[in-house]
Amino acid sequence: MSSEDRPTEDGSPYGGRESIVESDTRLAETAHDSRPLSFGLRLAVWYSTLFVAGSIAIVFLTYFLTAESLAQRDRQIIQAKLGEYGAAYQRGGFGALAETVRAEQRAAPERLFVRVVDRGAEAIVLSQPEGWDPAALQTGSLRLGDGTLVQVGKSTEAREDLLARFRAVLGVVTLSIVVIALSGGLLVTRSALQPIRRLTDAVRRIIRTGRTDSRVPLTGGPGDDDAISELTTLFNAMLDKIEGLVTAMRGALDNVSHDLRTPLTRLRASAEMALAASPDVDRYREALADCVEESDRVLVMLNTLMDISEAESGTMELRREPVRLGDIVARAVDLYRDVAEARNVALAASVLEDVVVTADRPRLEQVAANLIDNAVKYTPPGGRVDVDVRRAGDRAILSVRDSGAGIPAAELPRIWDRLFRGDASRTERGLGLGLSLVKAVVEAHGGTVDVVSELGRGSTFTITLPV
């Protein structure tokens, strides 16, 4: 397969990534236009609709109760009058009734409509205030003992006037309630949605600029509990993680491109020198062997760098299983036995208490091998390297102690750095990645690394792993 043939599939991650970012931005913008605003509006509308409906119900109820009680009062007045007129009729017949009505009409400012209908169905109007519309009358009637019907009507005009004014007042009140409810609802939801809008803005800004270092500010006092602060915190935490990943990836890429240049330059130089020199099979063979070795080194370095950045960024695939740390150490010591012997370094393992850890076996084997590799490499002939496994509480401890030259205090903090090589190690073969890988893999397993060193006496590397 060749990457030139299918650049979009695996060749150029940049083109693909940019287009993804673009489409994400579009997505976010359209979402912004339709969603958060309309959500706020919808909330406000719902809120004010409920509020207005409630208020209107109360207004209507008030109005009908008032109207009803006014009508009730009129009915009572009419009934009272009817009783009065009935009594007068009983006392002195029609004359007394007419007299009573007339007397009332003189005295009372409120005129009533009074009509008497006798058995012959002849109606006699006793009182008919001028300009009254007989249709706008509330009436009541009383049939007397001899069959005569007394009818009393009361104009509803005054009542209607009152109710009309009441209606007007209620209308104004209702209108103001609607206005207050709508604007209040809008205001309240707007302020309630403010943190969400801030969050949305931050997200959109990040998507647009690609800057993962911006954060959404946490607002509000201690009383400001709530789901939104939690969401903001979580969102920021997610950004932290993304930023960490991006930084790690960028760092790895920088390292790779920087550190591959040197071996690639050597590779190129070997080939170029062979081509420039006079044709000679042996020289060619040498140059080709150099090229192969150099490209193997490039490959190992590339793989190790990838491993380190995967472990550091938390994307390394760990196939965890129960592993006896003693076995791992025994195998690693066995791997280096001949090398230690060839260098006249005594290499011994002592497993005080075997511990089972949950770990990725090949990765852990690599950790142990790298530590022993390092120790054997920097221990002069006649020295010794001791590997211990023990348990301390809920931690498994693996330590590698050498009797080498020790590490200067100034270099100690940097030995775990990628491609750091101390002065003493310049002459030794190696990539300067072994300890970085140890640290990255151990930390990916939730463990710790530590080193204690004394110049001239040796160093002790200790890793701990959770049991």
């Binding site: 397969m1 150099d290 192969v292 066995d334 280096y336 001949d338 091998a369 490499k377």
Partner: protein, 223 residues
């Protein structure tokens, strides 16, 4: 022995085909998945070497199609991915194998031969012989001419591996995985040390040297 090679990169295809021909295989090449499938269906092959990423039809689907049609040719898959995905890894359960790019040709050859061996089920020998060097697998004794040679277990394992691949270059990575069963590359050259110990025992006192270093590639035991 016929090998079907399906690889779309011309340089790699030529490199692999030439190497396999030099090792005595008859090689047919195809540059895409469909052509590969047509070839595999048209005649029987002892082994197939397939790239995963192929135009028209990818390597894994090609294997699926072959198996569906009842063709059990063992397959060596070439993958450019560093982290081999589970489907490819799963091939090992089915008797097939995989190799990640970039690879040493010696390793590809060894794997192809292992696939052929497994498929033909050649009887297991009890002694291995290269020139006057004899390794008895049952008694675990090694002799060269009349001289008995005392080997440590790792040295024995290395010699056995080299003698099972006489005249064939084996890489350091292959030795590391066969002798120690480690799959990573230690920084110190452990293999060099073991090879020189073995050389000390089987070659130093003898006129004819059997164990040779091929710089940049590996080691070879040649009679």
């Amino acid at each position: 022995m016929r090998v079907l090679l399906v690889e779309d990169d011309e340089t790699i295809a030529e490199f692999v085909a030439r190497g396999l021909r030099e090792a005595g295989f008859a090689v047919d090449s195809a540059a895409d998945g469909e052509a590969g499938l047509a070839a595999a269906l048209s005649q029987p092959y002892d082994v197939a070497v397939l790239d995963v990423m192929l135009p028209k039809r990818d390597g894994l689907s090609l294997i699926d199609e072959l198996r569906r049609r009842g063709i059990a040719t063992p397959v060596l898959i070439l993958s450019a991915r560093r982290s081999v995905d589970d489907r490819v890894r799963g091939l090992q359960a089915g008797g097939d194998d995989y190799l990640t790019k970039p690879f040493a040709f010696a390793e590809l050859l060894a794997r192809v031969q292992a696939l052929v061996r497994r498929a033909t089920r050649a009887p297991e020998p009890t002694t291995l012989t290269v020139d006057d060097l004899v390794l008895d697998l049952l008694s675990r004794r090694v002799t060269r001419g009349d001289v008995s040679i005392d080997l440590r277990p790792r040295e024995f394992a290395l010699l056995e591996y080299l003698m099972r691949n006489p005249g064939r270059v084996v890489s350091k990575t292959m030795i590391l995985s066969h002798v120690w069963e480690y799959s990573f590359d230690p920084q110190t050259n452990i293999v060099d040390v073991l090879v020189s110990r073995l050389r000390e025992k089987i070659d130093r006192r003898f006129e004819k040297k059997l164990l040779h270093t091929v710089r940049g590639v590996g080691y070879v035991l040649r009679g």
